[in-house]
Symmetry: D3
Subunit: 330 residues, 6 copies
């Protein structure tokens, strides 16, 4: 972790302070301006564990909240008291970790709360750079999702990855039932058989064909009707549930995906559509980062602040001291 990803002016500040022989103990407080579900703080603590590793424990102190905490506007989520040159260069990185993960976790929480008690799965890997899909999936799970779609993200959260099958598999087999049978032949028994039923035929017709082919081994079907065909509607879910029940497949679950967000999930709930779980993509993965700010509030113990901020330490009953010796990889 070098300063390559930091705003260049932090590098310049480090140079200037070094040349001028200045390195005060500063108190920096980090906060956001809105309600949110905090995430990224574990990663930030881990980074601080590295960079503060060789600092004098007597003058070095870190306090923080935890991933998953619901935070309020201007609430301090992280307070660092240390020699400025030991960590100043990493302000950009810390704020970035918090901003993006908190944005994702907060959006996930909105979906989860709307969908409850039905569960939500995060499917957004395709909207973010591959270098951070694991971070995204972890944040979605912190926000309350019960599963995520990538192996790396799921492992980070201690869960198994979730997923059904891609349209490409169905297209290559040329028939949904053929693809479903191949899936069933080749996958471990503990992988639930969830079959995508919108590739070739009407969803209701395809659902019944698949149900008859897999019988009790069919765990569920996924509806992902494209926008060109009017998206998944509450009535479609009701109809498929009814047709499954009429033909004796009451055990088959219905997973819905395709452009879901809290408003759309609420529509399914309001209409009483019997959805068993929701797979959410871009509402979570495309959520705007939530801006975090790092403010210096004291220098060598003296309260100070830039214009617009209040000097001195902010009272907080929630911040917990971080044991430097216990940092996971310090």
């Amino acid at each position: 972790m070098s300063g390559e990803s930091a705003d260049v002016y932090f590098g310049r500040a480090a140079t200037i302070l070094e040349r001028e022989g200045l390195d005060p103990v500063v108190t920096m407080e980090v906060f956001a301006r809105r309600d949110a579900v905090l995430c990224g703080i574990d990663e930030a603590k881990n980074l601080l564990g590295h960079v503060l590793h060789d600092c004098d424990p007597a003058e070095t102190r870190v306090e923080a909240l935890d991933d998953g905490d619901v935070i309020g506007p201007k609430e301090v989520v992280l307070r660092i008291e240390a020699r400025y040159r030991s960590f100043g260069l990493y302000e950009t990185a810390i704020l970035g970790m918090l901003a993006q993960s908190t944005g994702w976790a907060t959006a996930a929480r909105e979906c989860v709360e709307t969908a409850a008690p039905q569960p939500v799965i995060s499917f957004g890997a395709r909207h973010v750079h591959p270098d951070i899909t694991d971070v995204l999936d972890y944040a979605a799970i912190v926000g309350g999702c019960v599963g995520a779609s990538t192996p790396a993200g799921a492992r980070l959260a201690g869960l198994n990855p979730t997923g059904t099958m891609p349209h490409s598999l169905v297209l290559i087999f040329g028939d949904t039932v053929e693809a479903a049978l191949a899936f069933d032949r080749n996958m471990d028994p503990d992988v639930p058989r969830i079959v995508l039923v919108d590739t070739f035929k009407d969803e209701a017709e395809e659902t019944l064909r698949v149900a008859h082919a897999l019988g009790d081994r069919l765990y569920g079907i996924r509806l992902d009707t494209p926008a060109e065909r009017g998206r998944v509607t509450a009535d479609l879910v009701k109809e498929i549930r009814a047709r499954l029940d009429i033909e004796g497949f009451g055990h088959v679950r219905i997973v819905v995906s395709g452009g879901l967000n809290p408003e759309r999930i609420g529509y399914f709930k309001d209409q009483g559509a019997p959805v068993d779980s929701y797979a959410v993509g871009s509402y979570i993965s495309g959520a705007a980062p939530i801006d975090f700010t790092g403010d210096i509030k004291a220098i060598d113990g003296r309260p100070i602040a830039k214009r617009g901020r209040i000097p001195g330490r902010t009272e907080s009953a929630r911040l917990k001291p971080i044991d430097l010796g216990n940092w996971p990889e310090g």
Copy 2:
């Protein structure tokens, strides 16, 4: 690059196809659903160069547009014709690269077009995860920004990083003029002296103090008045320009930052505020990814498509074939 960041169902599809002995040549087309400034395609080509490295050139073909191209709704930006198992696993990664970078480049272009002829600088590193700040800065520059705030991002785009000084430097020196003089003492002569003037005093008063202290060596000042103090207004810029000119500092440039977006930039333009450059943060870095879709349109030469899509190759006069032998790191 393993499948760790891929949606898990692509991994399962690969397993099933392998066990079933299927590996057709498929034609996959990638498109977005809205107007955008394409970005991430160079990175995607690079990835494909790696994964298709050992394929039979006779049955492998890649066509694509370029970073910076303005694309239309449903326009094909990338077409891959190859054995499915050679690249299917990487669909998630490719779509993610395109989605996030295109989102950023498109947002940057909006700011750049509104601000022209004044230049725009991307300052958004603090809102994204440090693992992708270089990708962000590169996309901002593809979108038309003249500079970016991180060394890594600037290097990726072949530019020098841009920046002024952090509030923390001013706070540590306890006075803007002291900090400015230290900056001037310690920085290479080719680094422009741009001083942040909103830390302690009224911006107009501080600007004149700094101008008198640095004289001709002062390149510009940056206004970043916080929301708590009403943000930077067009009248503030006009007043500072007038006060600088009255006191003989007509050469000092004014950089504005703080919550800028096309609407806010347009406000400065409409009011005739003499801003010399705009530093934009979260409007670019927090832009939602632009969703890309990858569709199989033919299998072993036979047109096919899932419901909602039209089978067969899409006509395109703009797609350019990629020479597999020339791929940068293939």
Copy 3:
């Protein structure tokens, strides 16, 4: 035609005037308050032909515009000069004929103008009382529709009725292709074979099945996807057109129905959907009547008017005298 359908106060007025021995020659003018496509005037003239049959031609005069004329606010569309007791009782009937037919014709015209050059068919019989379906269909055709769905209405307008097949026929045959073949076997050759393709299967799949079964004899297919399945979308029309063309059925026309109105027709036009004709139901048949008013403007040649109106005959260059001897059934 008795006074049974008249507002009762007209019957009372007739009684009072008769008992008081009053029967002046009055000039009554009929107008609406908005732009509209006039309809019902032929039926009104016909009624007047009957009721004025025995009046003294020297003091009886009727002037009117024609069905299909575009009229302006407060424009006089009918002027009757006759003994009051000869026609006063029929004011309610005349206004009702004009109000309802003009409402329908005006709504039809809106659809026709939006859809042009593609034709519009009126399908609204199911929303109005069976006693007036012929009047509705006639008005729709006056408004510009090229066909209507009932035999009576079509005959009134001198056209053949238009139609495809009901869902019940498909349901009874249990398969769209079976129903289509039965239709083809049993209908006269001059009845165009237009097959409804949304009953059992995905519309695109069903369209191709029907096209292969009927070949050149298939005139068109009708898309009527229910709201529960997201209605007909522009993309569905494009896809079906493309799939038909790919398989060599370029001659098969696409008829769209289901909740169409000018806004929805405009959506198909704006999206460039290759619709061949539009079947409109409740937008035309459910159009609100356009209120007409009958004002007495002179009595025995003396200008008079109630408060709010201007006494005397209104100038009009468009009104044409009606030859009492020529009335169709006078």
Copy 4:
């Protein structure tokens, strides 16, 4: 009742089924998609009584709700179980009866509920075709109106017709008082004397002139101020009530008409205007039909449905079996 008013495709279906020798017992359910006050069902039962008259009672069953019932979205209001060819041709007619009458009754109910406890009279005959004024007036009374303006409609509902006098009577007499005296001279004593007071003079002045002329025999006055004179206002009603009371005519009732709808009636209520009854025209008569749909849900006892609908009979505790032998004119 022939098939002339049916959609032509029902006629074609009948022909095809006859030639193919098909005539299954089908279960058809009829429903609307919104809350409404059901009307037209008696007329529909009557029609079914005719067309099912010669069917085998063992396989023929009709269940229905009643005129005036408040129905919910998708609630079944009519279920027919019979040979398809015995009634299929009449689907258009049945749906049309329900659609138009239910639209009118529902609009009437809205006015009645807003006006309560003051009564509402339906005055809309002039906005509909004379062939259906009786149907309109019957529906308005089913919706809660206490009277209707045509003799036929009132008789259908078992009431006397309601009405005052037309403007033409006043214009022919040349003075409101003269017209009122003639009305009083010539009408049966049981016809209430309600005088229209807006023809020539200010309403307040004319009201007092009429009250002095008719004294105790005056039942009420009707205010119908035209839009050109600002319509009837709440203040006008209050003023006329006060001026009547001041001069000792506390028994004279005030009827208001002219562009009334629930919003306008609510305005009079909110302002505390002492209106004694409301005469509503185009809000009821111009109400859009409420679309009804007839779905086949079973064929020869086997559940079936078109896409978008759920196969099989819908549970309903409210539907009542219709005794075929008791049908009024069967």
Copy 5:
């Protein structure tokens, strides 16, 4: 003119400066923040003529625009260069004169521009304190009104007052025609006979009664229908014009009053109502004052300004020097 009406802090400032022996020459500039029609400046110049009467002409200078000038946002309308203590106390009074008169003149101009070429009369005296009715009427005339309703205001503007008769006169005579005849008997021949026709009877009926009674001596009638009777409508004006013309009174003019504003005047224009003049009340008299600000821009010749303003004299090609010797009452 003492300091009694000044904000008290100006009085305190005067005391302090006197005790401290300070009395610099200051340059004060006065401006508004929006487009407006300037008014009150003559009164302000007059005040300054008094208070600067004994100042040293060598160091005293006043420049100003004129009443009736259209001014732009932040345009300087008045610049005073003088010893501060000679005029500082009067800043409140000067700003108040400008604010209120400019508000009125600007509102009057809006009405006048909408009504043109028909004239506008100001009738707003009843909405402002009697001490300033003359100031109001003068401002209305500066804004373009052709007349005002008070003798004092009209004299200030060099016009005769305009007016018709009050409702009280008509009520005391008990009949509009009686009141009109008394008006005609007792007024000088050069006072135009304009009769208010809405007191007792319908406006159209009363207009014709008055016209027959006064014949050629009737100059016009005024319509002022109260809100309780639906206000004056465009149709009422058209009807009265038509009824006057039919009966040979084409010379009688129609004046409209009652809640007029530019939107309502525009309604009459758009509807083509033949109004001859508009009498406007509260839109002009109730117009909000337009805020003026007085800024010190130089002290003893040295540019200075408070934060938010630009130091030094503002360029202006329009300001005209005021000759102190020529001030009307200096």
Copy 6:
């Protein structure tokens, strides 16, 4: 008090009635059409005391409500029973007093209710003509303001004037601290030291400089940040409160001014900004007059009214008789 400020038609009416020898006893009632805080009634009573001074007490009666009463729509606030010619000419003056003062008092009350329990001061003298600043300040105080800015207005309400210091004083001293010290040196001890802190420097910096200079003698500071600098924000108030408290100046009060209205005051309250008092200008002084109407309701004891109004005295339990002998200056 002559008729110079009356609408000219009242003067004409007086002339006509005199020449015709008419002078009935009339009952006039005065009311507004909306909820309001009544003001101006004391001044109106005073005027009536003068003009009715010589009337016969047996036929002269005045009833009224009081300044500060909350009145409802159409509630009678003043009833005059007297010979018409004794007071008719003053109708314009009376209505004008009520309209303008009631408009101001009502606007003041809105601010006061929003700000409670913090007090409001009226600062609007600069927006009204100097002849009525005392009337404005009195009305503001009737509306609930605790102080007003002019000596005359404050005296009228029996309070001391309120105020701080003008920007001009600070500009002439060239430094806020110098101006504050001069103020402190020269003002009576009972004048609270409230210092304007936005003239030259950042408000927080200046506040602390002034607090250190005046110490315990500093009563408060006034924040009036101009729009060009983003106006006063809730965060600025919080920050200044915090910085004052940190440095031991907990006793210093914070007064806020600058474009305040109920919406803006509510913003400070909602944000929890520790404002000690609000100084409101144009929201009060620029409030539109509230239109009052004077209606004749009886003549010589006989109920009468113009069209649109109800004849006769209006019941009122609140009106209080005015003792003519007790009128302050009768």
